[in-house]
Amino acid sequence: MHPGRQLGVLGLIFVVLYLLVFFAGGASGSFTNRLKPKLGLDLVGGTQATYIATQAGGAPTKEAMDQARQIIANRVNALGVSEAEVVVQGNNTIVVSLAGKADDQLKDLGNAANMRFRLLIGTTMDISASALNPASPAPSASASGAAPSANPSGSVAPSTGASAPSVVASPSTGGQGGGEAVPSATPSVAPSVAPSAAAPAATPTAAPAPVSASVQEQRAAVEKKIGAKLWAQADKLTAPVDLTTDPKAGLVYKPFNALTPAEVAVLSTNMQMYVPTISCDQLDKRPNGSIDKAEDQVVACYSGQAKVLMDQAKVVGDDISSASPQLDQQNGQWVVSLDFKSEGQKKWADLTRVAFNATSSDPCFTAVQALYGSADHCAVAVVLDKEILSAPQIQAVLTGSSQITGSFTVTTAKQLADQLKFGAIPVTFSAGPMQTVSATLGLQQLEAGLLAAAIGLALVALYAFFYYRLLGSVIILSLGLSALLTFGALVFLGRTMGYTLTLAGIAGFIVSLGIAADSFVIYFERLKDEIHEGRTARSAVPRAWHRARRTIISANTITIMCAVVLYIVSIGAVQGFAFAMGLSTVLDLLVVFLFRHPIMTMFANTKAFLSPRVSGLGRVLRRNSTEEPVSSRVKEA
């Protein structure tokens, strides 16, 4: 390749990078603002959120807190290379700090997560709106906001083109990734429920779990609020109230619509399910942990449209070993692959066997038919806290690897996989205050770091000039170029993938200065060898380059390998550091190939190249010529 062309390529890279810096990835503000890398928590401070944990039955155990800390840390780090700090404070508080203004990111971190897999055994539309306003077609404000449509079928069918989610045994396909999602079914809701509800007789009633005294008290309070007569009536409900025959039948239950979500949460499962005026909105806002008990049958909402009755949780989040989004090669669809731990595999197999082998007389079959319009097998709901993430139909008796299919996009598949993977926080959190925090180290340290970089650069420059004379200028120019490229990449990556520069990162870049200068030493020493052996400058440069290139590539391959492995495997600060190391090494190589080599090629054609005063390379030469005659004498300039 022609030297000029290589320099051209480098120039192009430069221009593109800085165009990206100034005009892409959400660049905004003045020119100087666009040139600011995202600095880390230790340098500029950030936002701190506290989460107070509660565990069923009192204070959380130390183990549970550690596990929760780990899961929250994983969630934070899934946001990007941000080097957040997550610590447990006292017995029940977790403090998360993130660089910069990060309120939005911190908001959902503490979302408690008890992952439960429950067989879907009953469903009824959220008919609170029509129950409250039987005469008016407009939905009331208290309803879930779904306008009742005239569709007489009682199914929440996914909109056209969306396939209802299902689970199949995963074929052995490769793939990787990670995330979270609700199948984008936009069901049409009909205010009729008639045939869709599970026949109560067939409902596999588990004996109602014993209710604790405090719940009894709370129930009594709600009963007072509602009125004993209505309470007794509601308590007897074992099937949805049929509004198709009597549109006003739901009106008597109106008081239930005024209950707070916390009050709704203490009602019996049957009441929550069958009282028509209890809306999805109320159910969705129940306190965290309301339906965590694995041994209870519970009610939740599916896509805010249908109330769903679910069986005891036979499989829980702890049973999952891994989950990741994958692109199904055959049909180009995103799926979520799911693997269970050894003890979880058996439970999963039992649960899927029940679902897969269910016949049309089983309640779960009726329920899934009602939910999806048509179905061949029962569905298992994946419940995270109070939310049904997905309710896939079970397509086989599954043991280990399973795949959840549905109309996923890459984002929704990643989202669901993340939720499955990090879903099992063993305690529930209530978010405490969010506050700004100052830098731990502050700008003094940052200035010191930059000063150290300047000193390091100056020392390298001095040494290079002393040892290689004018060739030192090539080194300095290259280092300057590397620094500019690295800086541009930092600014751009800070905006696009949340890479924050901490003091450790800065130090990493300073160290890479020396390592970048290394490749020069290797090259120049090679050049010396070649000239020592009596070659002319013009033939020595390409030969030395050819041989040094091999060494440089080998040595740098190792550094890059180290960075890539650490980046993939490790977490937290180590990951951020590995990223910095890999980035600077790749950029150094770029400069070596596209700048130094062509410059040296041009330089070699000048007369001054070999003079001892200019390059220091001639010193070996003069000695050489006194020792033995060399066939190809080099003309002294």
């Binding site: 404070q89 040595a555 390998m561 937290g572 600060a573 000695r623």
Partner: protein, 382 residues
Amino acid sequence: MARQGLASRLYAGEANIDIVGRRKMWFTIAAALVLISIGSFVIKQFELGIEFSGGTSFSVPAAAGGKTLTQDEVSNAVEKAVQQANPDASISTTQQVGEGKDASYTVRASALTTSEAEGAKASLVKDLGLDATKISDNQVSAAWGGQVTKQAVIGLIIFLVLVVAYLIIRFEVRMAVAALASLLFDLVMTAGVYSLVGFEVTPSTVIGFLTILGYSLYDVVVVFDKVQENTRGITAGSTRTYSEATNLAVNQTLMRSLNTGLVALLPVGGLLFIGAGLLGAGTLKDLGLVLFVGMGFGVLSSILFAAPVLSALKDREPKIKAHNARVLARRTNRSDDVAKGDRVRPVNAADSDVPAMAGSTTPRPGARPQARRNGNRPGTKR
């Protein structure tokens, strides 16, 4: 040939220092150092920083009783208070939490017992003149979880496996083993220095420690690259033993190794100077220190340890063994060519014996092969 000063001979790669020939000495020194390090791990262990072991966090309001405290005032006061309670205690970071009149400062200190924390709180109350109810203390967990360390170690192991595979493809099995040995030596030595001197281990230290991985191998690759070049087709001739060829390569790359080492250490030195000199503590010093120690060992071990290990391994290889014996036999037969101090030895010398260096008779790089060939018997070549 006029004797030149060592500097200019170094510059030209002709210092002819016998490094590989003294390999027994290097191995003895290395073994002793490793034993001392491991002993230190067992007996002294490591000083772990607050980020690993957890600690106590004090929360002090910024504005109380009509006066506002600055971050420095609070951090100094807390430092004094915890040191009164426990002389070994130290503080790590101070942060302002919140803004305006509700702002408070959070100071993290080493782990204190309940009574120590109470004592520290009492002296804080006295020192800052605050209401005792306004100051709270809490136990804080390690910010650097065990998970981070675990994943870093897994990463380290995967990296080592990959690197060995790469070196086997790029060089050969014995070179890969020698490079790995040298890397492990660097890591053990660096950890040993930390354990012996009792420097505090912080997250920055761990990160720096991982940097050494790539760097230490970088040096070794530079040396081995030259060794490979020098020993290509070595068995075809019979002028040099493998060890001599290796030693020559080390000498030729000596300047390069010293140079690369120096150039890489210069910025780290700047970091250390600023970190330890101007700031006294913190991330810069931690990183500078671990890198300085690690890279220093990296340069030394690539010259004094990796190459000798390689030659020791290669001398056990049958093909090389036979070749070495042939070279030596040839030298003893040609008394006119024997260098001073070259001991005459039977052909079947034990393989742990290292051939002495042929000194100045070893051909210079680039010198043409000598014209005098003495009875190159066919059949000796394979």
